[in-house]
Amino acid sequence: MGQRKRPGARGSLTSATPGRIALPARKSAKHNVCMVSDFFYPNMGGVESHIYQLSQCLIEKGHKVIVVTHAYGNRKGIRYLSSGLKVYYLPLQVMYNQSTVTTCFHSLPLLRCIFVRERITVVHAHSSFSAMAHDSLFHAKAMGLNTVFTDHSLFGFADVSSVLTNKLLTISLCDTNHIICVSYTSKENTVLRAALDPEIVSVIPNAVDPGDFTPDPSKRDDGKITIVVVSRLVYRKGIDLLGGIIPELCLKYPDLHFLIGGEGPKRIVLEEVREKYQLHDRVRLLGALEHKDVRNVLVQGHIFLNTSLTEAFCMAIVEGASCGLQVVSTRVGGIPEVLPEDLITLCEPTVGSLCEGLELVIGRQRAGTAPPPAAVHSRVRTLYTWRNVAERTEKVYDRVATAAVLPLDQRLRRLRARCGPVAGSIFALMAVLDFLFLLLLRWLVPDSLIDVAVDATGPNGLWTQTWKG
């Protein structure tokens, strides 16, 4: 595991593995990584599964990984997930949408304690919506730790709220060592939002577990055509468009059925449409789906429809394609980058264009010229794997480990230079206060007095031994 094969041994195609950032001659060092985000299990979503899967793969590669998030209801303290992935659920107050309150300072004692106990070398924060992630970056820089940030979402520039959040992102990222984005569009977006040097932004896509999403043509009824939609039923997912597509196509094709999984405030739109056009037997609303049930829903359909209005990467279409479905999607955000042209039909985000795209695919399905599910699956299964993501992330860590963390004076200078005279000065002051607070904490409880946590993770970690023993 530790001795990674040089790509040259595997032929010229793989020798061109993307993500060759670090010096390949040196053997990859072991990192002690701390993933920080407000979003983690039991909350469900893209960021949560990203952190979990990435952590698992990094542990498999011999790194030490811990996850830090806030307490979810009764779930607080320390929990262990599979392969000994240690999760700290910190008692911090949740403010809005599972994001914690931030004062820039109050989380320092807890986070410092964790970083020191676990001998963390790299702090990896996730999601720009997470206040805790930004806090941890701020404290990690004060403590002289290397920092990496993964941005999972796209953001506009036009309204007041985005002007404010973009300013905060600029401040948070101006002295972060490396940033990871999930698609090229997301990279452009983040570089513009945070005024970054594009060289320190890497693109590492998300992945899906192809083993979880296998096709099963026997589950679908070929006597009719089923369109599957699996998404949260919210405005940003374009559910209003879906409410226009359903009656339009159902009137045209009597054998067309819709299967809609997910829950949200826009459910009422779909219910009204179903009511008005009397489509109760053809439009089924399944409600919220558990992650393990998603595959069983997907395999019942022929066509996967995604109507999102904005999307950084869109795992859903990869999951749909992996289950062998024909994918029809809006051409927004990073979606055009995700699947090869012959596996996806891209449409403009209008009812007319989406209906056209769907009709094209329905025609193909009826004529029997659509590629068989197994063929689609075999093409998709190798595109995005978590192992690959972990390998590329590891290279980012290798690179970050060699980079120096800015000392306080240079941090202050950079804040003033990059973030404008007003916000820059305010946050420079915050950085100084944070540093003083850190000195106080170090005086009260010196690092040497903090116990070192036992590392249970990894292939030969204590975790597996205790279970075996």
């Binding site: 040089r6 790509p7 040259g8 010229s12 195609l13 793989t14 020798s15 061109a16 993307p18 993500g19 060759r20 950032i21 670090a22 010096l23 390949p24 796209l154 953001f155 506009g156 520039f157 036009a158 490396h178 698609s183 569009t185 997301s186 452009e188 977006n189 570089v191 513009l192 594009p198 060289e199 932004v201 890497s202 693109v203 590492i204 374009g238 209003d240 468009l241 409410g243 226009g244 339009e248 739109v269 009204e272 449409v273 209005l309 904005t310 990467f313 927004v332 955000g333 980058e337 995700v338 699947l339 090869p340 985000p349 209008t350 009812v351 290279k395 980012v396 690179r399 060699t402 980079a403």
Partner: protein, 347 residues
Amino acid sequence: MFCFDNTFSAVSEKIIFFELILDNMEDLEGGDPDWKEYVHGTDMLDMKLEDIMAMGADGGSEAAPATPWRKVLYERQPFPDNYVDSRFLEELRRNVGVRRYRYCAVAREAGLVAQQVSCVAAVLTLWSYMAQGRLSPFMLLGASLLCALLGYVLYEALGGPRGSERTRWADLQSAAIFLAFTFGFSPILKTLTESVSTDTVYAMSAVMLLAHLVSFPYAQPSPPGSLSLNAALFGSVCLASRLPGALHAFAMLTCALLVFALWPCLLHRLRNRAPWTFPWAAVLLSLAAVTGLATLSLGGALLLVLALLALTLLCPLLLLRLQRHKDNIHGPWDEAEIHEDLSRFLH
């Protein structure tokens, strides 16, 4: 030419350029033409030290990528993850759909704001006259009714889309109901704020009239927005309760309703049907308000003139100036907007 960029170095940041002179070009051309296939213009230049070292580590078998970079994720491309192509941000658009304003047009539209300010000033002047006893309520009532009648005739004469089943009889009915109720309740209105100090009443009406000006729906003044109309009428009620008699209060409220509720409707129709009349109406109204105020206080009138000029002449200029600094960026990351009317599927 090679360029070594060590911006990642902790010690110093500098970029060093090397000129690589191949002095045995003929030899290479003759002997091993293969390498040339891999060198395509700038590909070589964009390489980093790491890439070159990686090539070394791979035994030099791998040359610079021959395939151009594509903005796709599904293909493993021979570029590092932090590679920045020359096509980076090529889909960035600036100031899409920005309207170029013409000064005259903006100034003309700003006239609407100015005339609304004048309306408030005019109502306050009338109130002040009544409070001082220099204007009898009968006179104000008579003038108001006359104006209302003239306005109604003008409104009808201009024609335009009528409310579906609204007849003249219905209009007369509502007018009668309003007059009767206001007249009946005017003694109550008169004593409504007796227990409140006069300063509070004045402050409240000032705030309310300001709220009226701020919340007035300038883009679609007919019918007047509920918030602005309510604020204006509340302010008027407060003021009316400080007048000497119940009849005064009644006249004041009738006048306020005329100015704040009915005049915007007439003005809107004037602007739609006979656009040339609008600047005249606005100027006349402003002049009337200024002269009215001048008879009370010269300083106030001067301030009003300055405010009106600033609103109609200076503010549009400022808007045009600031428009130049507009730098709005758009790109594929923007949330798509739904422009169609999707409610037709629901109702």
